[in-house]
């Protein structure tokens, strides 16, 4: 549990539904996860973002006890449900796994029987919710990829669990299906559910997540609220005859810079909308520097993501 100053008057207690400590997992000589630690606040939509092969599914597999970590530990719900914690979590991991010879409805009955979540009325509810009610009596093997994905999401929603773990939930869905699932996730989040989503789609995480952890080759590169980790930035590009002096002057005023290796321009970064070109120009002039180049460009989220995940 962490305490945050909610506003100037109250302190708000934020419980975490999941704590992960130094999880490590290798497949032979390949390190799939390397000392990953993070905390998922209650009520958040937590995106685990990373390119293919970054360790997202491995991490979720460990959290759902289908994979064994070599090192580290994790705790759901502060450990209050012991090993039966999975019954409290609606989970869809990788491809939908159901009995091919059973109908969608019969497969959901098995999920209800194992998890103890939901009942016959609930099966009808989730089938309607994911648009499979008309096909409920049809064998799973006759479903399209999108329908299989929707049935898996339906199974995860049985019993209205407080926590959902969804691995690439929009895989195989058409644009309308993608929009519907994202809308559903937003609605569930607003209703107070905690949701953990693994995705390689930056756009998806940006649109529906409140928090994000970025994985690359098993290493956790960044984590925290989306607004901080994937913040849009203003980038100010500057140049002057004496670049060393320009960098030193800006540094004296607490402005961090770096140099673009290709163009040689000096870059400074500001939160979105806060770059003040007039102030920068005046500061340089007062220090005897004549700027030969001064421009503002907006860094896109995608650039930020690539920056984080590229070598």
């Amino acid at each position: 549990m962490q305490w945050f100053r909610g506003n100037s008057i109250t302190l708000v207690a934020v419980f975490s539904v999941l704590q992960i400590n130094n999880i490590q997992k290798s497949y032979g000589s390949v390190r799939a996860l390397n000392d990953v630690s993070l905390e998922v606040p209650e009520g958040s939509v937590y995106g685990i973002l990373g390119p293919n092969g970054s360790g997202k599914t491995t991490l979720l597999g460990i959290l759902m006890s289908v994979l064994r970590p070599q090192k580290g530990n994790f705790k759901w719900f502060d450990g209050q449900f012991g090993d039966s914690y999975r019954k409290k979590i609606g989970c869809m991991l990788e491809t939908p796994n159901f009995y091919q010879y059973l109908s969608g409805e019969e497969n959901l009955r098995i999920t209800v029987s194992i998890s103890g979540r939901g009942d016959e009325t609930d099966i009808t509810r989730v089938l309607k919710l994911v648009g499979l009610y008309e096909r409920r009596k049809h064998r799973f093997s006759t479903y399209s990829l999108g329908m299989k994905q929707r049935l898996a999401i339906g199974a995860a929603l049985l019993g209205n669990p407080g926590v959902l773990v969804l691995d690439e939930p929009t895989n195989g869905l058409d644009p309308v299906g993608i929009a519907e699932i994202r809308e559903l996730i937003r609605a569930l989040s607003q209703a107070g559910h905690s949701i953990i989503i693994a995705s390689h789609l930056l756009d998806e995480v940006e649109k529906i997540c409140t928090h994000v952890a970025i994985l690359k080759r098993g290493n956790l590169l960044a984590d925290g609220p989306v607004s901080e980790v994937l913040m849009d930035e203003d980038v100010v590009e500057m140049d002057a005859a004496n670049r060393q002096l320009l960098t030193a002057v800006l540094s004296d005023r607490g402005i961090t810079t770096d140099t673009n290796k290709e163009s040689g321009l000096v870059n400074t970064y500001f939160p979105k909308g806060l770059a003040n070109l007039e102030y920068l120009n005046r500061t340089c002039m007062e220090s005897g520097i004549i700027l030969t180049h001064l421009s503002l460009r907006r860094k896109k989220l995608e650039t930020r993501f690539l920056e984080l995940t590229n070598d």
Binding site: M64, R68, D83, L93, N97, Y99, Y101, E106, R109, T111
Partner: protein, 277 residues
């Protein structure tokens, strides 16, 4: 989790699995069918000639009369375990084929609960097969005009031994399916093990190497030795001291029970440490 819930979930998985029911139907036809075949074959030989009938009566008694019929049919049926082994292999490899064993864990079962559900399924199948054999024995015994029902319950213990052999050998089939994950491969290996390696070792040991009776403790052999042949068969098949076979039954029950326990403990240990991919 309650046993009833584990069994109910297995029932939900199987109740529309037509391939399973088809094989089960074949199994349920095979057991009475083969018992009936032996019975009618024996009757045909007896009725063909009065002298033969008299010799048979003298030599082997009344194998299809109560109470000897319990032993006869338990013994004959104990050789048919390879037929229901198909069902057991389907029961486990099916879960790998559709990756549903992993989904069962994701949905909330522990790995132990998953294995318990399979163990209970095999126990239920054993119970069903034993019930069928009991029914077949009663029907043939009662239908047999020579059969006296006075000693009906005598020798009923052979049905218990049949159940133990069946559970033990179906557990071996399960282990092979559990480790190999592929139905045909598992079935092939089980049949191979059921028929070849132990029998070859036994023949070599007893006829060529003459290295004592260590082979009595091989898994299938120990299991088979829980249920020795009926006395009339032992009389005509070999010169082994029949009483020693009977005396060794408790020892072989213990050995087979130990194998079965170790086998299941190994499955639990293996599944607990494995990644479910």
């Amino acid at each position: 989790m309650k046993i009833t819930n584990l069994l109910y979930t297995e029932w939900l998985k199987l109740r529309r699995y037509w391939a399973f029911w088809l094989v089960l139907a074949l199994v349920l036809i095979a057991y009475p069918g083969i018992a009936y075949l032996f019975y009618t074959g024996y009757e045909d030989v007896r009725e063909s000639n009065q002298q033969v009938d008299a010799v048979l009566k003298l030599a082997i008694g009344s194998p299809f009369d109560f109470p000897e019929i319990w032993h006869t049919l338990a013994y004959i049926s104990s050789f048919l375990v390879f037929i229901p082994s198909v069902l057991v292999i389907m029961l486990i490899t099916n879960e790998y084929q559709y990756r549903t064993q992993r989904q069962n864990i994701l949905d909330g079962w522990s790995r132990d609960q998953f294995l318990w559900s399979k163990l209970l399924g095999i126990a239920a199948l054993t119970l069903l097969l034993t019930s069928v054999i009991i029914l077949v024995t009663l029907v043939i015994g009662w239908a047999n005009p020579d059969s006296a029902t006075a000693g009906l319950h005598v020798n009923l213990q052979y049905m218990g031994l049949f159940a133990l052999i069946t559970f033990n050998q179906l557990s071996i089939a399960f282990l092979i399916g559990f480790l190999l994950k592929r139905a045909l491969l598992a079935l092939g290996l089980f049949l191979f093990y059921y028929l070849i390696p132990e029998n070859v070792l036994i023949q070599l040991s007893s006829w060529r190497w003459k290295t004592g009776n260590w082979y009595h403790y091989l898994p299938m052999e120990a299991s088979d030795r829980m249920l020795p042949p009926p006395p009339y068969l032992a009389k005509i098949s070999d010169s082994t001291d029949y009483q020693s076979l009977v005396d060794a039954i408790p020892k072989h029950i213990l050995v087979s029970a130990a194998y079965t326990c170790l086998l299941w403990l190994f499955c639990f240990w293996w599944l607990r440490r494995k990644d479910l991919t």
